[in-house]
Symmetry: C2
Subunit: 261 residues, 2 copies
């Protein structure tokens, strides 16, 4: 394999909501060697700021709808407050971070989700990743930091699922790099026994995945997550890891690896 390895890491709300955990994670992420990309979700600040501004969340069938006021708030919080603070903290640790939304240099083009049963408002589904420009940044030793905001190339910003963004970025970069996609969440990995937080399954491939789902060991919310991982692997991503914030620490050995073999 001649391609350089590129680490792509996604952090969600559980890391972002905890200031100390976030600072610790960012220090570890900054220390990761070689080219890397960070994608961050939203956390609770958007809801707090919406409430402070007197906005009432719009829900349909229990799902949040991104109305015009909400897309303004998530743009402020994700692309402004969170993205720039994460970038500034990485700069402190000598990681040459650059915060991006999908609109910036047309990095992530999306379209407003097509209305079938439910109109989710300004929610974006990803169409294309500008891998060539992201590569220009990486080749200049810059670390892209993506928030979960995209655009439609027609002036509209769109709220987009961060798991989707990180998968699409990893898939897009796979034509140029040997990509490793890392999902940081609240557990140490996919667990054999949900009661035992250390019962991490070290490796899952399509064959063992079938065994684990047949046995009911992988179920519920973990199913779409793993489905998303296998989708990325099938589209060119080299390796997927799932674990907690220590995933990016070089000494950490406890996490779940997913691969096609």
């Amino acid at each position: 394999m001649d391609k350089q390895t590129l680490q792509i890491v996604k952090i969600g709300g559980n890391v972002i909501n905890d200031e100390i955990a976030l600072a610790s994670f960012l220090k570890d992420f900054a220390a990761l060697e070689g080219p890397k990309i960070l994608v961050h979700g939203g956390g609770k600040r958007a809801s707090e700021i919406s409430s402070a501004m007197g906005l009432v969340p719009q829900m349909i069938n229990g799902r949040r709808v991104t109305d015009a006021a909400t897309v303004e708030v998530v743009t402020m919080v994700y692309a402004g407050l969170l993205n720039k603070n994460i970038t500034a903290q990485l700069q402190k640790h000598n990681c040459n971070a650059l915060g991006l939304s999908g609109a910036d240099a047309n990095c992530i083009l999306a379209h407003k989700r097509i209305v079938k049963d439910i109109d989710y408002g300004f929610a974006g589904d990803v169409d294309a990743v500008n891998a060539d420009f992201i590569n220009v940044l990486l080749q200049n030793n810059v670390t892209p930091v993506f928030c979960a905001i995209t655009h439609d190339k027609n002036g509209q910003l769109l709220n987009t699922n961060a798991d989707t963004i990180v998968s699409e970025v990893a898939i897009g970069m796979s034509k140029l790099y040997n990509t490793e996609l890392n999902f940081v969440f609240e557990l140490k990995g996919v667990l054999k026994n949900i009661e035992d937080k250390n019962s991490v399954i070290a490796h899952i491939n399509p064959a063992t995945y079938k065994e684990l789902t047949d046995a009911g060991i992988i179920a519920d919310g973990m199913l779409p997550k793993i489905h998303n991982c296998f989708n990325a692997l099938e589209k060119g991503v080299g390796k997927v890891k799932i674990g907690d914030a220590s995933l990016v620490q070089s000494q950490n050995k406890l996490y779940t690896t997913l691969s096609l073999k």
Copy 2:
């Protein structure tokens, strides 16, 4: 002169606060040929959102102090809401814009203003511009769009005067480009007679500037603005223009040009 010409344009609150004027300006800016940079100020949205969140502006001697809550709001509004909407609108007009704060790729390094009589809080004074990285963007046909937020390389974001940012960026880029600095404000240029909005002084150099100030024609708020322009010219900026939003329209001939000769 072998250097390529680089246009650097600053828009202030008067353009940003008017949605139609902003859309029209951005369309004109997108049509500008050759490498270009946009710097935008804040406008009234930060104050509106501060009020909506129940924050009370901190003022000392009539000047706003950037406390911790305020730097959060300006980061949200300037680096998030305004910067990403401007970027998305430019993308719509096929200008490959990329929104930046000073923290991004360490583009604008600053320090928290030294406390003499007044502690202005998280207000930044600019130390250095990363001209080499900005040039990487320009050479890849990307148009940098700066908001007026910088950082101290120690994890702190800083609220910074947009006029200062645009001047420092123009000065920094002058080692690589033949720079033209364009200040867009509410008037058509520097006026001979404040009562006549069309009485634009076409050209000011240090000699005519002395005549105009001696005669009391240039006074009050225009003095620091022009002082800032001459400072940029002395530090390598090739030309400075002051005018209204039509400054970037190729057919516009009514504005004030400043130069050292």
